[in-house]
Symmetry: C2
Subunit: 324 residues, 2 copies
């Protein structure tokens, strides 16, 4: 029987298989709606609330699928990744749930609050100078010393299939959607979303949304080449990364379009959801909402699934209460 990890692109069945693992460990998140938001946007939105997921973000789905798909022999050496964000926390938690070690490479200048959060989930953190070369050297050293399996934040078949399980749950409850929209940074969430949604019903349109200030995915697809994301300046701090080969290929084949949004649009969308729906969504999760507002021609009168990617915000530096 061929290992599914050797297939080039994941398919619906791979997400279904991932779900048989993920559902044992992740929370089934609720779908929220708001009459007043729907009235304002003239659309019928269904928010899949991954802000209520473990570690506060969809990342736990991919991480738990990757960790619990390892053989016992692989697993006992642990897992490793480089990340200063939600993937690190998610991988650390999934590893601790399986009872195996996790080794996270972080830049020396990562905020101490993020280091503490990842340590709190039981990870061993290795700090390195904040350059790609140092990071890769540190990562290689750890893998050599520990034999840990490297779990890329998004350019990983198992991770992508895990992220797709949010759409599986969404469509299980609301199958008759016209559109699904998700934010795109490195493309793991969008790739998983495309894999499941297009497999479920290819007539459902799927859009990615990204800040115009970090529009590497938009330009990469337009020019058919992967552009790196160079020093992007955006409040959507979960969308700073660029596509890799696997996410580029899935998105370029299956996605109906990347919609870019303004920074002020992101802040206003975030405020709208906080005020009207009383849920805390992080700026990256406000990007698809901003896209529905700024590209309303695609969404008017439509039934739209929105993957709310997470709710991890720094309450001490919110973009409210001052000019933005």
């Amino acid at each position: 029987m061929p290992s599914e990890s050797h297939k080039s692109l994941p398919e619906l069945d791979d997400v279904v298989r991932a779900y048989s693992i993920v559902k044992k460990h992740a929370s089934r998140t609720p779908i929220h709606q708001s009459r007043s938001v729907n009235a304002i946007l003239d659309s019928n939105l269904f928010l899949k609330c991954e802000n209520f997921q473990k570690v506060g973000a969809f990342k736990f789905r991919g991480a738990s699928n990757a960790v619990f798909s390892l053989t016992d022999e692989e697993a006992r050496h642990g897992v490793t990744t480089h990340s200063s964000g939600n993937h690190a926390a998610a991988l650390a938690l999934a590893a601790s749930m399986r009872g195996i070690p996790s080794y996270i490479v972080m830049p020396e200048n990562a905020p101490s609050i993020k280091k503490k959060a990842v340590e709190g989930y039981g990870a061993k953190i290795s700090l390195c100078p904040p350059t790609q070369k140092d990071r890769e050297a540190m990562q290689a050293k750890i893998q050599e010393e520990t034999g840990a399996t490297f779990i890329h934040p998004y350019n990983n078949f198992k991770v992508i299939c895990g992220q797709g399980t949010a759409s599986l749950e969404l469509l299980e409850e609301i199958p008759d959607l016209d559109i699904v929209i998700a934010p795109v940074g490195g493309g793991g969430l969008l790739s998983g979303t495309l894999t499941y949604v297009k497999g479920f019903n290819p007539s459902i349109k799927v859009y990615g949304a990204e800040p115009v200030n970090a529009d590497d995915a938009f330009r990469s697809l337009r020019d058919k080449t992967i552009y790196p994301s160079v020093n992007p300046q955006t409040i959507a701090d979960g969308l700073l990364t660029s596509l890799c080969n696997l996410t580029y290929e899935i998105i370029s084949v299956k996605c109906d379009g990347i919609l870019t949004v303004s920074e002020i649009g992101i802040v206003n969308a975030m405020r709208l959801i906080w005020e009207r729906m009383k849920i805390i969504i992080e700026p990256s999760s406000a990007v698809p909402i901003a896209a529905i507002i700024e590209h309303s021609q695609h969404f008017k009168g439509k039934r739209v699934g929105v993957i709310i990617s997470g709710g991890n915000v720094d309450l001490e530096s919110l973009p409210f209460g001052k000019p933005y």
Copy 2:
């Protein structure tokens, strides 16, 4: 058959009867839990999320019970109240859902955002100078001119029974609680909570929580006299009012205690819930959480239902990101 509105104190059956009305109009709100909050507080909390209720607060339960309990003859003259807060919005929405007029008396100096919100629900607003005498004169004039039924924000049998339906839903899902706690301002929510919970199982303890800076309920019960709330200075802007005869009587007979909390405790509790649970709760709703922290001896190891009263906050003036 005697009208239940002539009984002195409401009982469990009155809340059950209210629920047959309220459930047709109000949202059934979810109950949220958090492992990390439970670990921090060493308690097992069940948050009944009335921040997700229509108009963003439990007030819609009482208002809808009052409005839909009117006879057609009473109803056609409309309803009226004085309030600048959630009760006004709730009454206006309930009236508009029944297709009858609502007349809201507000002080001239009420924030324009609140006037707009209430107008947005279809109410006719009458402004008056911000004194009790002017307010009562305006209220009397409106009742005389329109024949509208006055619906007090909390000293009203139907309103109290409506507020109790939050506890009915809570105990339907989680019957085996040790404690239920709710904030207390005028006492409508706490009275409804006591009526249902003590009727359901008198061994469940029920506490009220209020800011030490607005501790009129605590003092009123201690001294067996109703103290007015005189110019209280607290961030919990939903708890500025004082008990009235009906709420005082219910609370003094049935409540296991009023727990007071510090202002900094309220802010820290609000931050804890926002950060860990990704839901927006207003300062008044953080008061019971602060009580669980500041009076932990009552709550350690217990299963505690917490009525989260609402989620209406001004995002432009949050108590985060600056010294408080």
